[in-house]
Structure formats: structure tokens, C-alpha cells
Amino acid sequence: MKLINVVAVKTIDINDKPAKACRECQTPCKSACKTSCTVGNQVCETRKKPTRFIW
């Protein structure tokens, strides 16, 4: 019997260090007058090409 289904695992690297970050990805603006983007709505652009829409 399966009581727990995995949706996604380890989506965040807990050992990541700021000095390693490229910071090339989009800058998220949480303002409601735009689309109140959060980092959760973003992708790492070295791992995946972003969709056309950006912030």
C-alpha cells in the first residue's frame, strides 16, 4: 500500500553557497501592478531555458 506519493524531491540544494551563484536569472518583482512574480515562479536559466515571458 502506498501511503506517500512523491511529487518532487530535493528541489532546493541546501548546500548551495551564494559565492557560486551566477545570478543571471530573472529578477522577480512581487508588485501587484506587474504580475507579482516570486522566485517560486522562476527557473534556473542554466538548467532550463526560460519561457518568453520574463520579469
Binding site: I12, K34, V39
Partner: protein, 442 residues
């Protein structure tokens, strides 16, 4: 649903697992007898639950522990600029934070020189960053269309080594057919403000004489969005306020109007405003998200799916932890330029004199490096006590500093109602992801 906050692992769980964890999380010292008694489960099931949990804990994707990241702003450089090209608008939306577009000043438009100086400033500050972003905003930025086009052309031709990404936020009323190929040529992502169906939209989005605006914008906007329905590149973005709280229906109306890329935001106004959301609205807001989830999944499963911006959580390729702990970058990675060249931490601070950081026409451009440092610190997720303990911290990255200032006169003090709504929204997005996930995974 179960979320391991530090690692971002997400699980859907059987109701019995939920009950078991509720007891254990309330009192981790609970004995087996207490768990049996309080959950009503039998010993065999509890044994199975514990075995599954143990497997996930051993795999380091549940109950993970992580060191608190340290503050390091040395990597933060300007890479995103809002060119507030118009302190003017032909609308007078009732919830506008910018006082109908003039930002409490005289209506002015940005000149070519200021826009170009802004582009120069962005490139000089962006160091080795290849990707740089410019957002055209207002007021109504299409009132200054020539400057928008000139700025994009200047950026691309003067600095071809940069990867330019342009965004424009418009009410749609001045959108013309001849603009479409230009927006396409510069690959401009476009945000179009529409609040929903006629009654909802015209309740707050009005001309200066009080007339509703939907009739004027709808066909123009639809004409434009049809050119991008296949590849995206636009979002129809609505705002819900206290008098238009039924936003699930608004999203449905926008979808039925033919839009495929939709976003819907809570208004942010000081609590004295009649249109401001109140804490007492939270149950209704939660119910709206539940209704929206049902509609979204129904449309998805029936082949009529659409994009809802806040449900676009990428659990496989999300940003790194370093990105998640430094938020929007207002005042350090992101700044806004007013028509006269004044620089502010973001467009929402535009016109607030105490937050003026400099001017793109002056030398040095930044006259208040202390403000840049202050905002660099404020952007750090763990600089805010409330954020440090919040389960949503790695999805939200610390809230909106402008909202914090508006509501609490302190950029470090989170806007409580905004946080509550943000958490509803993130939870809704995780629910959608969980519903989309095949049961067989893992």
C-alpha cells in the same frame, strides 16, 4: 500535502499519514499508545507509515536540516531597470498606487536622453552579467512610445554584448497594430491590465470621467494577444480589490474571453481605503483560490487548459538557494528611473523623496550609496524575523519591500495580510502541482 521546507521536497499523503503527522508535530514525544488513541489507526498501519517516513528521512528528503545561509551581498549588482517613462495615464483606476499615474506630481514623460542615460547606467552597473532586463512602466508607457522604441534600439545597438530582455505593462487603450511588429522585433513581453468581465473590470478601471474602460480596450488587446496565443509572451493581468473579491470568476471570464495567459493579483492599499483588502477577507480569498484550483484543473483535463501565472511553479528547475534568499533585489539588483531621471529602489518607491538614490543625468549617478546598502540588507530573506520562520520563505523570498513600507513604514517589517495571501497562493500552486503529478512517481 507535505512540504519539506529546506529541501523543497513535496509529497501527497494519505489521510492517515496526515493524521499521524498532526499528532507527532503537535507533540514529538507522543508515545505509540497516544498516537494509536488520537488517530484511531491500527498498529499495522502506523508501522507502515513509519517505514515509509523512515525511507524518506534516510534519503534526506524529509525532516532535513540545513544551516541558515549567511548574508553575502557582494554578488549583487544592478541587472534590472524599470524605466518609468510616463508619469501620466489616460485612465484613473480607483486602486492605482501612483495616484492615477502622476505619482503625486505633475504629469511628465521621459525624454530620449533620460532613457538612454538609464540604459548606460544599467550597463555600467551590471558588471559581467550578460542578461539584463528593462521594464517599461508608468502611468501608461504607450503614451511615450517613441522613447520606448528608441531606448530598446539604443540598448541593442550600443551594447550588443548584453542579452536584452524587455517587458512593458500597459492598460491596452493605446495599443495599435503598427506596434505589434515592433514588440515582436524586440521580443517584448507584454502585461495587459484587464480585471475580468465587464462588471468587474469597469468597477475600478475607469477613465478620468468615471466611464468604464473595457469596451475601449478589449478588441485591441484581443487583436494583439491572438498573435501570441501559441508562443506566449503576454499576460493578461487583473487586480482584485475589496469590491471585486470574486477573482475565480474573473479568471474564468478572462479565459472565456479567449485569453490563454492570465494572472490575478491582490490589490495593495493602506487599510483606510475602501477598496483595501482586510484580514477579515482571508476566508473568502482562500475560498476563491480553492474555486480557481478546481476550474484550472477542470480546464486542463478537458483540453482547454490555460496558464495561470502563480501556478507556474517549476519544481524541477527552480532557482538556486542563493537566488531564493535575495528576493526581488529592489534597490540593488533592480531600480526604477522616473521621467526626470531620479532613481528609486523600485517603481513603487517612485516619488518618495527619502528613497531617492540618485539621478541618471548626474555624476556620480548614485548619491545615496547608504540606501543601496540598506536595501541590500533588507533584501536578505533572513534579515526579517517573520520570514526566517515562514514555511513559504524559499518560494516568496521575503516579500515586497515597498508593500512593507506602505503598510508598516518599515521595509523590514513584512505586510502581514500580504504574507497570508502569498501563502494561500503558493499553497494553491503546490496543490495544482500535486494534482498534476502521476501517482506512480517515487
Amino acid at each position: 500535502m507535505l512540504l519539506d521546507v529546506p529541501s523543497g521536497s513535496v509529497f501527497s499523503v494519505d489521510g492517515r499519514v496526515y493524521d499521524y503527522l498532526q499528532v507527532l508535530l503537535e507533540d514529538p514525544e507522543s508515545t505509540t499508545e497516544v498516537v494509536l488513541q488520537r488517530t484511531g489507526l491500527d498498529a499495522e498501519i502506523i508501522h507502515e507509515i513509519e517505514a515509509e517516513l523512515e525511507r524518506l528521512i534516510t534519503a534526506e528528503c524529509l525532516f532535513t536540516e540545513a544551516e541558515r545561509p549567511t548574508e553575502d551581498a557582494s554578488q549583487l549588482v544592478l541587472k534590472s531597470l524599470c524605466l518609468n517613462v510616463a508619469h501620466e495615464c489616460n485612465f484613473a483606476c480607483r486602486y492605482c498606487f501612483a495616484n492615477g499615474g502622476d505619482y503625486h506630481g505633475q504629469g511628465t514623460l521621459m525624454t530620449h536622453d533620460v532613457a538612454r542615460a538609464g540604459i548606460d547606467f544599467l550597463v555600467q552597473q551590471s558588471s559581467s552579467r550578460r542578461n539584463v532586463e528593462v521594464d517599461f512602466f508608468g502611468g501608461e508607457p504607450l503614451m511615450d512610445w517613441d522613447v520606448v522604441v528608441d531606448a530598446m534600439d539604443y540598448a541593442r545597438h550600443s551594447y550588443p554584448e548584453k542579452e536584452w530582455r524587455f517587458t512593458l505593462t500597459t492598460n491596452g487603450s493605446l495599443l495599435r497594430d503598427d506596434m505589434f511588429p515592433v514588440l515582436e522585433a524586440y521580443d517584448v513581453s507584454v502585461v495587459l491590465s484587464v480585471d475580468g468581465g465587464r462588471k468587474t473590470h469597469d468597477a475600478n478601471r475607469v477613465f478620468k470621467d468615471g466611464r468604464g474602460t473595457l469596451d475601449v480596450i478589449l478588441e485591441r488587446i484581443r487583436h494583439f494577444t491572438r498573435t501570441r496565443d501559441d508562443e506566449g509572451g503576454y499576460f493578461v493581468r487583473g487586480t482584485y480589490a475589496r469590491n471585486t473579491l470574486g477573482f475565480a470568476q474573473s479568471v474564468r471570464d478572462l479565459h472565456e474571453l479567449g485569453f490563454k495567459y492570465i494572472s490575478m493579483e491582490p490589490v495593495v492599499l493602506s487599510t483606510e481605503s475602501a477598496l483595501a483588502l482586510q484580514k477579515s477577507d482571508l476566508p473568502a480569498i482562500r475560498a476563491q483560490y480553492e474555486e480557481l484550483i478546481s476550474y484550472f484543473l477542470h480546464e486542463l483535463r478537458s483540453g482547454s487548459g490555460f496558464d495561470f501565472f502563480h501556478f507556474k511553479l517549476d519544481l524541477e528547475a527552480g532557482p538556486c538557494l542563493s537566488k531564493r534568499i535575495y528576493g526581488c533585489g529592489a534597490g540593488v539588483e533592480y531600480m526604477a528611473v522616473a521621467p526626470n531621471g531620479d532613481i528609486f529602489p523600485c517603481h513603487q518607491f517612485d516619488g518618495i523623496e527619502e528613497f531617492k538614490m540618485g539621478n541618471v543625468l548626474m555624476s556620480p549617478v548614485i548619491s545615496r550609496p547608504d540606501l543601496v546598502s540598506e536595501f541590500a540588507h533588507a533584501n536578505f530573506l533572513f534579515a526579517k524575523d517573520e520570514c526566517s520562520a515562514c514555511w513559504a520563505r524559499f518560494y516568496c523570498s521575503g516579500g515586497c519591500l515597498a508593500n512593507n513600507y506602505l503598510m508598516n513604514a518599515d521595509i523590514l517589517k513584512p505586510y502581514e495580510l500580504g504574507c497570508a495571501i502569498q501563502k494561500e497562493r503558493i499553497e494553491a500552486a503546490l496543490v495544482v502541482k500535486t494534482a498534476e503529478a502521476p501517482d506512480s512517481r517515487g
